[in-house]
Amino acid sequence: MNYEPVIGLEVHVQLKTATKAFCGCANVFGTRENTNICPVCLGLPGSLPVLNEKALKAAMKVALALGCQVRSFTKFDRKNYYYPDLPKNFQISQYDMPFSEHGSLDICLEGGIRHIRIKRVHLEEDAGKLIHPEEGAESLVDYNRAGTPLLEIVSEPDMHSPDEAYAYLTDLKLILQYLDISDCDMEKGSLRCDANVSLRPAGTTGLGVKSELKNMNSFRAVRLALEYEIKRQEAELSDGRSVVQETRLWNEKKQMTLPMRSKEEAHDYRYFPEPDLPPFVISASEIEEAKQGLPELPKEKRSRFIASFGFSDKDAATLSATRALADFFEACLKLYDKPKKIAHWLIGPVSFQMNSRGQDIGGLRLTPASLIELIDLVEAGKISQLAAKEVLQEMLESGKPAGKIVEEKNLSQVSDAGSLSSVIEEVIAANKKSVDDFRAGKENAVMFLVGQVMRLSKGKANPKTAREMLIERLKS
């Protein structure tokens, strides 16, 4: 039988607010264990939570960017369970009245656009972290993370392949980055993803028994875990066994999912309204204000780039692949009104530098103004394209402006016939075969000769002038 996978994703995102969700502690990563704590996030006897309004504002941005409806009346609930990283042995979360629900995310795949519904987005608090030292029988708890605002984004089971899940996560992360509300760093745990997957006979609409996959530390791992789990469930069903509803952990080393050790995991969380935080109203004007404050989102930006500048889908996607790059592009555009030229530079040489250095645009020693200076030099014919790449390389190394590098390295382009003619003579003398080919009618052979002129002139020759002079010389 053919089976169709049914996948739903639960994404947790830490919000990078200045302070924690319910107390005044700084919301930072990487400080010494148990230094970033107070009675509230430690859950000390007598302490009380107070909502950080900024966390709610950031959460609203995400909800609105995902097209969710924001509830005018919402509340927090307590999710009760015992674990040593949870200071109060309950988590402040939202249960039956999440502040937003019914959104969606359109993902682009080769087969076209797929509409993934978002079930709910709600705000909660993160727990601390257990540390299990190699030596010694005791475990330790670091509460620095406890109380970090956490957003839970739950999709409907609308995905049907690991690739769709991957695309959903990539697009979701892009939106979150555009909103500038999270670092979205899976390695640091600021973005985490659990996946629910089940199989059903192709062509049917029911839902099979699902397993819940946890412990994936990258989007790639989510895809691999889903691929593995789909195969495993297929094998179970094909052999006439049934899938057990359970939580399975992705084992990166073994590249397989393994059932979480036998658990009294039939958790009864005993949710009830958090009595320390009164229910609250989100007014229409607050929602409207949040909407107005939304930045242009990736999809809109792509469409605008295509419509306004005539970019290809691919170029528009590349330029909007991170908000930083898109912002860089638009800052350049303010200085220099040739979008295609700028795009050419960003997608070509600058992206090449980003990839080879493993940096994003913000990590390069490059500003919109310094890039435009470089482009200007090329466009004015002062340096060749080839020399320009060398200048860019040097700019990123030394941080010096393009003009200064051109001067120091004597890279000014040579366009006057006098200085070029000796180089041309030399090239003609050294490349008899190409000269013959050209004369025999292979016009393309001239390009090779131009290339040789560029090489001999160390990139300083103006290729257009060189080509014209070569043709004139060879035809005479």
């Binding site: 007598g46 009380l48 009864d268």
Partner: protein, 480 residues
Amino acid sequence: MNLHTLTALELRSRLDCGSVKPQDILTDLRSRYEAVEKKVMAFARPPSFEYRDTAVAGGALKGIPVVIKDNICSQGDRTECCSRILEGFVAPYDATVVDKLKKSGASIMGKANMDEFAFGSSCETSCFHPTKNPWDLDCVPGGSSGGSCACVAADEAIAALGSDTGGSIRQPASLCGVVGMKPTYGRVSRYGLVAFASSLDQIGPITKDVRDNALVLGVIAGHDDHDATSVDTSVPDYLSQMQKDIRGMRVAIPKEYFVEGMDPEVRHAMMEAKAKLESLGARFGEVSLPHTGYAVAVYYIIATAEASSNLARFDGVQYGARQMAASKDESALIGMYKETRDKGFGAEAKRRLILGTYVLSSGYYDAYYLRASRVRRLIKEDFDKVFREYDVVLTPTSPTPAFKIGEKMDDPLSMYLSDIYTISVNLAGVPAISVPCGLTRSGLPIGMQVIGRPFGETDLYRVAFHYEQSTSWHKQKPKL
């Protein structure tokens, strides 16, 4: 000098004119403590009689020592809620009320005994010792703020703070013959009060007379950024506003509170109080609070549900007394949880935590917690309705005077019923005060409860103050 018999305001005038120094008060209280504490056992642990100047120039309580209940955090002091599970817990911060007391010049003298985590109406569930009623040492002082009320009644303290979840200030105040106020929910910050039931708990003053009560509430009341349930509304000058006479005030008597079989001495005292208030110009009418009969059941669902969650943090991980797993057969973690909580909590705490866990469990939530929450709203609406026509409601505070130690310990239900007149007030979130209004033939105090509309504390003080001015019950002292 018998400074310990004076009220805060009486001491204040002596302090102001310089005839008494703050340390004099504490020294006098020490000799009183040494004389009677062995009998009363009002404190959780020995208080400090050293004056610690809070360096406040002229606060409302400058130089006045205040005792606080053992569930209110004060920085550097043991705060154990009279429970073994919090043994050794030293609060690293001040509760907002403690901060306010200190800023008003008061000194925190020590911590009063209480029922474990405020679970009780007799002060017998304290892990340390039961407190005795100063009027009859064979009787309970009431609870859970039994220690706070007993130390004020025994003149071992000038004023005290208690907490009230279902009557825990008013019932012991009534049984000990002192004045106890449960303010409107949200009037006083709960930050630093170890939570029993978050939606019901309020801190309030316990004092020798109404004026002191108004004085202390004026200090501790007000909005607090650390408590999202505290309400941002200005604090009236209770002391001056309560001077206004009560002519024309409309007082409701709820018929559900005066039923066949009620203690005849309590009934008699209430009738006399009514007559006295009428003579002062109050106008009475009978009303109905039809959902009163459900209050105890609703309370024991909501309060225990919240408690089961609030007390989940006492697990041996961060603080308090940790016990290691008793058996190697289970995980060290689960074993630690079990042993810590088994050894740490007393029987009444366990009973309530199990009850609260049960009513929140999947499959039972709707039938218990949700339904109780709905009935709670009806109880509140009963009060809303009455307060459209009346300024205050008058009831007894407790159905009986103080009962004997041990009398109700094996009968939780009858113990729970000793709060039958006070519980609705917490469910409705309204304020209420208990004021002494009589003594039984055997010499036990009787208290009357005046209930007001939300933030109507001024009305309560007015009624209580003018009543007090025309009676002498508050001047009666137990013979110790």
